[in-house]
Amino acid sequence: MQTLDLKQTRNNYENAARSITRRIIICAGTGCMANGAMKVHDRFVDAIAKAGLPVTTELKAEHTRPAKTLVSSSGCQGFCQMGPLVTLMPDNILYTKVTPADVDDIVTTTLINHQPVDRLLYKDPATGHSCRGTDDIPFYTRQTRSTLKACGALDPENLHEYIAGGGYLMARKAYTELSAKALCDEILLSGLRGRGGGGFPTGRKWELTRVQPEPKKYVICNGDEGDPGAFMDRSVMEGNPHSVLEGMMITARAIGADEGYIYVRAEYPLAVKRMRKAIADAEAAGVLGDNLFGAGQALRLHVMEGAGAFVCGEETALIASIEGKRGMPSPKPPFPAQSGLWGKPTVINNVETLATVPLILAAGASEYRKQGTPGSPGTKTFALTGHVANTGLIEVPFGTTLREIIFNIGGGVTRLDGTQDPQGFKAVQIGGPSGGCLTRDHLDLPMDFDSLKGVGAMVGSGGLVVMNQKTCMVRIARFFMQFTQNESCGKCVLCREGTRQMLGMLDDITEGRADADSLALLEKLANAVQKGSLCGLGKTAPSPVLSTLRHFRAEYEAHVHGKTCPAGECKALARPEINPALCKGCTACVKKCPVNAITGERKQPHSINASLCIKCGVCAQTCKFNAIAGV
């Protein structure tokens, strides 16, 4: 098989790109797709052709003049809240919430008359100013996008475009210019830490595997992003799959592996498809194969689709799953670096870690270290979700404060109906079911691996779920406990039975059955589960409980002793009452009540029959006079 000439490919692509006068990039991330992005894409192709302008949907090397407009799709552009997103280059205009009905207007106003369509531009809620593009929108200008930079701009299914942007140059350098030892040293020097949650130094992991005498080794990409509230890895696999392959190629060179697996969560069908296509394209072009860059080394990559088990994110469980077994973790040592897949030395790196590797080689370790903090260099992607104005995918240097992320990038906290709530911030949940909650006191804490550990939370994979004052923290703890209880593989007794008991105790608390000893017992059991479990799932399963107990103990006590839920979320503790002084007897609530529990004469104060009431809260929402409280 012939090796692809990267320089020639780049030249061909750049020549072809000269025939493109304007490029329209439609975000085809999961969020925008769900809002109809592909309809917008197709409408653009039709509308441009109808306007008599030459249009194409794929940039091919043989393209020559006449000049054309290229309509392409990209991976997630990050600003999911405002989708579907459409970017126009070279104008650098970003249109938000674009529907197929807006397309004709864009073609006439922008493509033909070179004016922006003001109504589709993002308006900064703070100033009311119309922002023209990503260089003008605070959500983007306050970020440092490096891993995500190409994700959202390039066409993820076009290998040539990846190469034209300098892609696979670092893989070639790794195979033709650098020794395995030098690669491990460079990554160790960069201080890169695993982005999957633990933050283990990647260079050390590689070195441990490199020195194993066994000739057969494996590289595995962990794309089993199971943390609820996290979608960074999905976006990278969907938006820039070749960067993950390049990272794997470099890893394979550093440890001496000739075979690898990409384990992708089954809930991510598009990521599976894109990774498979990327491998097929790279093999067809001679980037991957039996003789990488003429250096005499082979690399074969396979995609393995997960089957729905959160515990498979744990590396030994993931290996068992690839081997066709139940995904149950095994004790360490031996570490996968010594005895991993089929008993051979194996490196498992997270998607984001692998996508960062080529960037580090390109910049150099010392340049890379300039971003972030000394203990946690570089940038980190976060999935910002929950009660926040700008939900989406963001990337910031380690050490950025929570305040910057939530209020400046995220645009502040919102109520359930989506309106701004300046005083609404209650907590942010970080690190999923293994992580913890951060409160108002932590808003100015620089976020990195070590500082978060110090306050009982963790970076985890990077899900940040913002919660407003109406969120009951006991219920959040219960939510995560239900998750881990469900996902416990059952191997360790304390994880299997302990999480079940903890869930039962949390049910007692939220349903008013807890007594004076409940909290002490819950804490004791939480500590036991932490100590008595083998893998990360069990060891961290009690974290959401312990963290909320630490920061929101008063809320737990209100449930236990006062039998009330301060946030008003626990229905079993709700005691809806009509304040006779405020009730005007308008009968609006009577009509809305689904179980006819409210009675009363017109223009006389009404009352609620507690034995019939199902505490649904419809009456309180209906009442214009705020006369109904306690639900």
Partner: protein, 161 residues
């Protein structure tokens, strides 16, 4: 009429595609499920024997991973995301409405006419759109209980015609 021989033709094709390697058990079961929509005891035993594995091992894998179904699923599988972001944005009332509308529950996930299955999933990774509902492959974002009912009504109307 189905004869015992051709009944397993498709499974044999799948087994051959994966070279009858026991290590490929999970992809094989995924392919079998895609073909038949769920895994019967007979199929699992057949796969086990063909791969030279004990049936208990195949059953163990099939019950360990949540994607394998041992009972038939409905024509329309409604998957409601109950990830953290969807949860705090109100996925629970949507589930209650869907259960009530289709007369389903935690234990009873599929309607008797095999038209609908309602399941929850931990996270679909579309948190920017929370709460999210996926019907077969199609994703719906920012769903409300009313919108969820409407989606079900639309399918029912389509099926009647």
């Amino acid at each position: 009429m189905t004869t015992p021989r051709n009944k397993f033709d498709k499974v044999c094709g799948i087994l051959d595609r994966y070279e009858r390697k026991p290590a490929q058990l999970i992809p094989i079961l995924q392919a079998v499920q895609e073909e038949y929509r769920y895994l019967t005891e007979e199929m699992m035993t057949y796969v086990a024997t063909s791969l030279g594995l004990p049936p208990a091992r195949v059953y163990g894998v099939a019950t360990f991973y949540s994607h394998f179904a041992l009972e038939p699923k409905g024509k329309y599988v409604i998957r409601l995301c109950d990830g953290t972001a969807c949860h705090v944005k109100g996925s629970n009332p949507i589930l209650e409405v869907l259960w009530k509308k289709l007369n389903l529950s935690e234990q009873k996930k599929t309607t008797p006419d095999l038209l609908f299955t309602v399941e929850t999933v931990s996270c679909l990774g579309a948190c920017g759109l929370a709460p999210v509902v996926v019907i077969n492959e199609e994703i719906f974002g920012q769903v409300t209980p009313e919108k969820a009912c409407q989606l079900v009504d639309d399918i029912m109307a389509k099926e009647k015609n």
